[in-house]
């Protein structure tokens, strides 16, 4: 619906991904230099200048499959590898966290503050790297340029667009359940107390005026909530107090995070239809991925730095078990790129794939175009 929703979706999901990976790297006792390497590589890829430029162009929100493909790529931008089950769990956690944040944003415009919170926290992870810090600051500046002038109505449309993306996702996250922000049926708690959003008055007052504009009567009514006025507004500058806590790192306390993928909402029929039906949008999504990933420079791993596998679960057995018991309707299918006769697209893909560092041994054959597509299929 809105053509400005994609950057906010991408950057916030990316931020959540970094929070979770940071926590798991520490939980799995990955040596500090390797962990730092992984996070830096992902951040470098995510905030690549031409990638961000492409992202910020007005465009429709693409399908969940296309987004998932980008994050698969991003998570593998470094020496770290994730099995399918761990990648699925990572993506579940990312999406439910952002769904919660968007739903609970006091004002539609606060989605921007949530984004700034993610970027601020990301900057905290790369304090030792001025070049990276500069990249993130640049992105902040560009966001302010693009979103600073949007009206409340346009932000309302952005929020509705994001909520459409998250519709019908009810995966239960143990951290949310423990903190009582999510109910056991997977729905988030919407509090009816606390500060009202900035710019909104506490409900409860009726004011009546005459034809000259003079107030003739005021009456209070019981509005049912327990609200107070908002203390102050968050900052929309490059640096500043965001006030809002949504989008800050909730994993900083070292607690294991589990998702419950069974017993989710029965209303997944629309979701299931989306993943089972043959993808008629493959061409457009391919175009999108080509453009986006064309700007995504993957850093080549130099030297004998050995890779490692990160597990989002506490044991390998748990990870295997999760892979076996994942409900069909929740399988996050990655874009299945059908071989296309389009010469131009093949060339475009060839160029992109040339920039990617592939971890596995590539199968090269005479027809490079076909093989590149086949490699993408293996994602």
């Amino acid at each position: 619906m809105s053509v400005r929703a994609l950057p906010l979706l991408f950057l916030n999901l990316g931020g959540e991904m970094l929070y979770i990976l940071d926590q798991r790297l520490r939980a799995q006792n990955i040596p500090g230099d390797k962990a730092r390497r992984v996070l830096h590589d992902i951040i470098l890829t995510m905030f690549n200048k031409s990638f961000i430029e492409e992202l910020l162009k007005p465009q429709e929100l693409y399908s969940k499959k296309a987004l998932r493909t980008i994050y698969d790529r991003l998570a593998h931008a470094s020496i770290m590898k994730l099995n399918q089950a761990s990648m699925d769990k990572l993506y579940d956690l990312m999406t439910m966290a952002l769904k919660y944040q968007v739903l609970l944003c006091p004002r539609p415009k606060d989605v921007l503050l949530v984004t700034f919170n993610h970027l601020d926290t990301i900057k905290g992870l790369i304090q030792d790297n001025p070049a990276l810090l500069h990249l993130v600051d640049e992105t902040l500046r560009q966001l302010i340029e693009v979103y600073g002038g949007l009206s409340a109505g346009e932000f309302q449309l952005i929020r509705q667009t994001l909520l459409t993306f998250f519709q019908d996702l009810h995966i239960r996250v143990s951290l949310f359940l423990k903190d009582k922000v999510q109910n056991s049926n997977g729905r988030f708690v919407l509090p009816v107390s606390g500060p009202v959003p900035w710019g909104i008055e506490v409900p409860g007052l009726i004011r009546m005026f005459d034809n000259k504009g003079e107030e003739v009567r005021r009456v209070e009514f019981p509005h049912g909530g327990n609200y107070v006025t908002a203390p102050k507004e968050g900052s929309f500058e490059v640096y500043g107090d965001r006030v809002l806590k949504l989008g800050t790192n909730m994993y900083s306390v070292n607690r294991p995070v589990e998702t419950h993928t069974s017993g989710t909402s029965k209303n997944l029929s629309s979701q299931a239809q989306q993943s089972i039906a043959p993808n008629p949008l493959a061409k457009e999504e391919l175009n999108f991925l080509a453009k986006l990933m064309g700007g995504m420079e993957i850093k080549k791993t130099s030297g004998p730095e050995p890779g490692f596998r990160l597990n989002l679960f506490t044991t390998d057995e748990e990870e295997e078990q999760a892979a076996l018991t994942r409900p069909e309707e929740l399988s996050h299918e990655v874009v299945n790129i059908q071989a296309t006769q389009d010469q131009q697209r093949n060339q475009e893909l060839a160029r992109i794939m040339g920039e990617f560092e592939v971890m596995d041994q590539p199968r090269w054959s005479a027809s490079k175009g076909d093989d590149l597509l086949a490699m993408m299929d293996e994602l």
Binding site: E60, P106, R187, V189, F221, Y227
Partner: protein, 349 residues
Amino acid sequence: MVAADSEGPSDPGVRMFRRQRSIPLRGSAAALSNNLSVLQLPVCNLTHFGVVHGPSAQLLSVAPEGVPLAQRQLHAKEGAGVSSPLITQVHWCALPFRVLLVLTSHRGIQMYESDGSVMVYWHALDSRDASPVQAMFARGIASCGHFICVGMWSGRVLVFDIPAKGPNIVLSEELAGHPTSVTDIASEPAQEQDCMADVVTADDSGLLCVWRSGPEFKLLTRIPGFGVPCTSVQLWKGIAAVGYGNGQVRLYETSTGALHVQINAHARAICALDLAPEVGKLLSAAEDTFVHIWKLSKRTESGCTEVEHCHGECVPDTQVCGARFCDPSGSSFAVTGYDLAEILTFSSE
């Protein structure tokens, strides 16, 4: 959960609302404004409900006691574009000789016979008007006499002339009056002599335009906004009841544009307003999970408007996206919520 009932002595009979049986939906309701349309058919004791899910909308016909009888799904007509087009609104339009169901989307405007069985008209959005920085869509539907008005992302309002029967629907006029996207349109039957206005259109900037319908619509008044989108609008006895993104409900006298009432009604954006015009009841629903019912009265001597709070209802943990009265006396209402695959109903009888 009942939030609060006011002590008002005027209507003791309509104060206690009870949750009735929910009506299940095939798909959850989308996070849109005005996402519930109700067609009351007292003659056959049926109620029709219309809810937008996303790329599809669901129509339900329900017998008394909330027993669902039949359902139908309608889809946005595909056109050029990347993804499945999303529907923005579905609404029944009662005209003098027929009822049409109108569906607006990111591709255009679809009009059906009232049960959704036959599409009688399709109007595609003009891609030549497309702007690279804004999505195209139609949104805001109201009937007025034998016209149907539909709003556009550009701020224009299309006026269609509807024949008594058949598909010969004609685009009669394009109204220019709004600088930003239209959000909602309201109308009421032409009143007494002094109430000439019968259509109100609203937009994302909060601006309201008051019109008199006819072969050529006439712009009578402009009521400026205050930087907050107007999400929903109703018209009653020449009074525009307006819901805003800051949770306020305001009542304006349309002939002068004067503000008569300002209610700090909700803690989040209002998503829907509805009227039970015969009894002067107004319903407001917002993303703060609350639905409130108000009694409006117009004091003819002073020309003032008075508002009394009648009832408040909390729909726990639900971001409400649509709400409507289900009967002319305003003694029952239905609510939809984002991500909720059912229509909640409440009745005070």
